[in-house]
Symmetry: C2
Subunit: 333 residues, 2 copies
């Protein structure tokens, strides 16, 4: 049905090998031949077959991306950025939406030659699959969530530092009765943001008591429940720090439902600066991550590894910035 390089060869009056050479940059072909072949190609509408090419070259030109949850708008934004940077380097993107179980599917895809490598956005600590994949030296990079000590390329926001900015900001404005709402502590983002926040608070003389730290799922609903419980048990807290914007929106909703005024009675701070954070109805103070750069670095590192499997693993941390909006007050310190 579809035309092959052999059809083009016949049409152009050259050998099949010459057709192939015309397609491969940097191969010597005379201008006259090249023109004749190109002409024949467009005439019969030839498109080279990927599978055949993959068999010879060992490269699929496709990269896998694993995402846990598209319900948190941060991930669609990251996915879109990854799509852009992969596209810029002429790669296709195969996506797995994980809810946990699909990490293995992505790793299998490397072994069966469906993708050249995988970008994990939502890996958790103690991942068995990850450990096995690293043993097999599968080309992969962790972005956003990272794993301490894992021997692979990793890219993330400098989460401890970003959370430190929040602590500085709150203390500078006397909002020291704080609580923290996180997702699972197995996610490095929550672990590092909580750690950075709590450490900095302690250094500033306002240690964060354990009972003012709560963990839940990364959903609006769970965030609402967690916030409600914290606020009920600790009616005196005046700032709620959340490990991401999605949870912070839930905190805003909960405060509103409880008749707690934001920012007068309570400041709410998120992390990520997703698009919704700047909407008038939400208007969230948060820490911005540069998603485009996160994606660009992840792509760059993975492609570099494909070219050189033996290069040393690199850990990239991007500088976060505090973005002050109406869920808190005053300019940043």
């Amino acid at each position: 049905m579809a035309a092959t390089s052999r059809d083009v060869a016949r049409e152009a009056g050259v050998s099949q090998a010459t057709v192939s050479r015309v397609l491969t940059a940097g191969t010597p072909v005379s201008e006259k031949t090249r023109a004749r072949v190109m002409d024949a190609m467009t005439r019969i509408g030839y498109v080279p077959n990927r599978a055949a090419r993959t068999m010879k070259t060992g490269r699929t030109g496709t990269i896998g991306v694993v995402v846990a949850d598209l319900g948190n708008p941060f991930y669609p934004q990251l996915l879109e950025a990854l799509s852009r940077s992969l596209d810029a380097s002429d790669h296709r993107m195969t996506v797995w939406v994980s809810d946990g179980g699909k990490n293995q599917a992505a790793l299998d895809a490397i072994r069966e030659g469906t993708v050249d490598g995988v970008i994990f956005t939502t890996v958790t600590e103690h991942s068995h699959e990850l450990a096995r994949a690293l043993e097999q030296r599968s080309p992969l990079v962790l972005v956003n969530r990272t794993v301490e000590g894992a021997d692979c390329d990793q890219v993330s926001s400098a989460n401890r530092q970003g959370a430190g900015l929040i602590a500085d900001y709150l203390v500078a404005h006397g909002r020291t009765r704080t609580a923290f709402i996180g997702g699972t502590p197995l996610a490095s983002t929550t672990a590092q943001r909580l750690g950075g926040f709590s450490d900095r608070l302690a250094r500033l003389g306002h240690p964060l008591p354990d009972e003012l730290v709560a963990h839940g799922a990364y959903t609006h609903e769970s965030g609402c429940r967690t916030a409600a419980r914290l606020l009920r048990l600790n009616p005196d807290i005046n700032a709620l720090v959340c490990s991401n914007d999605l949870l912070a929106f839930a905190a805003l909703d909960t405060a509103k439902a409880a008749g707690i005024r934001v920012p007068e009675d309570l400041w709410v701070i998120g992390y990520d600066d997703i698009q919704q954070a700047s909407w008038q109805s939400l208007n969230l103070t948060t820490v911005r991550q540069d998603v485009a750069q996160l994606a660009a670095e992840a792509t760059r590192l993975l492609l570099a590894r494909l070219d050189d499997p033996d290069r040393p693993a690199i850990r990239v941390e991007l500088e976060p910035t505090l973005v002050v909006r109406a869920s808190s007050a005053f300019a940043p310190a």
Copy 2:
């Protein structure tokens, strides 16, 4: 590096063909042989090579999905649902995030054998590429946005009907000074929702004047500008109907910024019922689409077409429902 079926054959003491047969369901292999081969496979960690399989079978096991914009949470939800239904039928998903130009990339992928077929979520009218792809009988299905008269499988919400529900609801509660904010009229969703709304209004005796219909981009920012202009030029309108939830959130923001009370002064209605619509801070009356079913139907139709390229094209419309929340008042009529 990676083990091949030949390696397995050597290990198991059988021919390479027998190894292949063990992998192919419904091929006669004796139990004893099968066991020996399976054993050898796990021993050397064999995974069949996809590209080789694709060359022989002509099937990649991968479906392409084209999405225009992950900034509208409806699309991540649809993408997640598609991921689920494709996964259930044992297919991988390659994603193109389009901003317009990537439709062709997805169609090329069919021709070069990277994907077996493509699901378009955001096709617009008068798409040249689509027309050419249909001529070449490329296996594809349109979901969400459709094209009148295109000879391919299509799945969408019954948009005219859904928008009619809104008109009924508004008129039943005396909110008849209405305006409409849409995205591009080249998107069937906007065209059909506007059409269904306006027709039903007219039939109920409250025709919608042209100057109360505005089109813009499908972004929060554009929605804000459009809503602000409409509300400034027509301070007497008491209901704003938007062609999707994203635009409705923008309308809510704009009303809030202008000191217009919702729902006392103005009702705001969206379409899609994305997750955010039920958040307390947004709390949007809207028309629900069943995203999971949208995805399931699209997947079913595409896979059916791959099995039988000559089956007649089908048009599926899913029943929408009105969901009343705090951006309007009273129970539905």
